[in-house]
Amino acid sequence: MQPLFDYTLRLADNALVLGHRLSEWIGHAPVLEEELALGNMGLDLIGQARSLYAYAGEIEGKGRDEDALAYLRDAVSYRNILLVEQPNGDFAATMMRQLMYAAFAYPFTTALAKSKDATLAAVAAKAEKEMAYHVRHSAEWIIRLGDGTEESHARTQAAADELWPFVGEMFEVDGVERELIAAGIAADPVPLKAEWERTLTRVLDEATIARPRDGWMQTGGRAGRHTEHLGHLLADLQYLQRAHPGATW
């Protein structure tokens, strides 16, 4: 069961960390409409994370529930990819990060919805519709920012360039996954690369943003080697639970 636990935890950590990043915009979004949109998208992801953590806790069978998994692990125990923990930056950087992730997560959840694992399939089937909307929302913004003013174009291009080294990790397959893919439980990310590429190319072209060249790709998140940003994020996310263990409403 260890590979299935690891795999479920990876998916959950991706969703929680990115969901938390989006929630950091609450109270800071440029307009009311976008504040609600970012909150909605953050809630989509945190909802996915909750289902996955609950399931991971079940698989592990050591009595850890979703709260324990979300609030009581340190950065080195987190298994999310590095892209999702990158700071919000400006609005263009947040939207670019969202587009890069959602353009992957949408076909990924479509594939995972066919998993032989009934729980993963059910969580993915629900997430698929949410991620389809995240692609649309972030794509429309990137197009308008990229093809907007000189400044918005420059910021959007900078966001693409800065985040590009983090996209490679989404398509990595390691031993844990190879086994689960062979068993029909995990979704193979490799064949999804072409669709991701098509989505990004279409949106960046329309946004008049140059597609950054593939070069050195960052990796290590799924092995617990994170950027310095995750520790700060967790300090904020876990503060209440750490300060008041077992606190409830």
């Binding site: 307009v31 009311l32 409409e33 976008e34 609600l36 949109a37 909605n40 429309e140 308008r144």
Partner: protein
Amino acid sequence: MTEKNWPLWEVFIRTRNGLAHRHVGSVHAVDATMALQNARDVYTRRGEGLSVWVVPSNAITASDPADKDMMFEPTASKIYRHPTFYEVPDDVGHM
């Protein structure tokens, strides 16, 4: 930062098939596509809708509240326009 506000759009939502779209409020957005997205995010968070329309607010011509008396008052005295003098058999149900 630009000082100019985004244009305003009126939002209409149809809650069920067969019902008409009802006005629910307004959003700011730069264009129709974004207005639709904003309307979705602002007004359908609790499963309110099956369909959303957005209309530029400046495309709506509205009656002036100051003209209320002239516009609507004269109908009040013409009770014969209200079909309340007919006996509707119980079996007919809602007409």
